[in-house]
């Protein structure tokens, strides 16, 4: 029982911190020795779907990986930059790293029609809502 609780809590840091270094989503270690940050994210809803904007500076278009499994959306971004050769650091405010963030969706999303594009280090995802659910009316018959 206690073990189960721990496991569900461990998922949370990845979704609650913004721009902070995060623990791996599923526990365990990564193979790349780079820090991993949760990208700062805006999520808003339009009439036809959800739009997710995530700041991932340094991530090229082919470095982004978005997966939707059941209702768990995972965003990953890989950066490849290295400090300039022949220079020594004099003042550092950020450390470059990869990005990862996991969201649980409460809407029904049409996975085939998800659009993703990256522009100037910002990932924009459009998640179209699935059509209106077919509500089925159940007739109650009095016996």
């Amino acid at each position: 029982m206690a073990d189960k609780q721990v496991r569900t809590q461990q998922r949370q840091p990845a979704t609650t911190s913004g721009g902070q270094e995060v623990a791996p989503a599923e526990g365990g270690e990564r193979t790349r020795p780079r820090p991993v940050y949760a990208p700062r994210t805006d999520i808003f809803e339009t009439d036809d779907g959800l739009v997710i904007l995530a700041d991932m500076p340094g991530v090229p278009a082919d470095g982004v990986d978005v997966t939707l499994e059941r209702n768990v959306l995972t965003i990953r971004g890989r950066t490849e930059d290295s400090p300039p050769q022949g220079f020594s650091p004099v003042y550092l405010e950020y450390q470059s790293g990869d990005y990862e963030r996991v969201f649980t969706l409460f809407e029904d999303i049409e996975a085939e029609r998800i659009e993703a594009n990256v522009k100037a280090g910002v990932l924009r995802l459009f998640l179209p809502k699935a059509g209106p659910a077919q509500t089925k009316r159940i007739q109650v018959r009095a016996s």
Partner: protein, 147 residues
């Protein structure tokens, strides 16, 4: 043997379960109170050698036309604005990305040549390379001895 029996009776199967649970709980509480770092936008890294300075800054979502870089003596000024992701009023579920104008003055370790500044933006990362004027560069003095 005796101690493991003692622990088993004391805290179930694993003596550290409770401790780990507590630690996780504390971590979870702390992580939900993490405030965005107060560092100014954009974050800047500076690298230097004796010929010049290489700066990089994380500017995701800033259009090239909205960014202005100027150099005066040993100060570099970054000025620009970040457009909001959408102009319509929306039902926000989460709003963590800021928008608006920013200015940063960065003091460089030495005077730079304002005519030899190269700046590029790629994937939301700005890279500026600044060079030291020739006459300011350190010169190696040859020591001549007399015999």
């Amino acid at each position: 043997m005796a101690t493991s029996d003692f622990f088993r009776s004391w805290a179930g199967s694993d003596p550290f379960t409770e401790m780990r649970r507590l630690q996780n709980e504390v971590n979870r509480l702390l992580s939900s109170y993490q405030v965005a770092p107060s560092a100014s936008f954009p974050p800047v890294n500076a690298f230097a050698n004796e010929d010049g300075v290489a700066l990089s800054a994380q500017l995701p979502g800033v259009e090239q036309d909205d960014l202005e870089i100027s150099v005066f003596r040993d100060t570099l000024t970054l000025r620009g604005k970040r457009q909001p992701g959408t102009n319509e009023r929306q039902a926000y579920h989460r709003r963590e990305r800021g928008h608006g104008e920013f200015v940063r003055n960065i003091s460089l370790p030495f005077r730079v040549d304002p005519d030899r500044v190269e700046a590029t933006v790629q994937d939301g990362v700005l890279r500026v390379s600044l060079h030291r004027p020739e006459q300011d560069k350190p010169k190696r003095i040859k020591v001549s001895g007399q015999r």
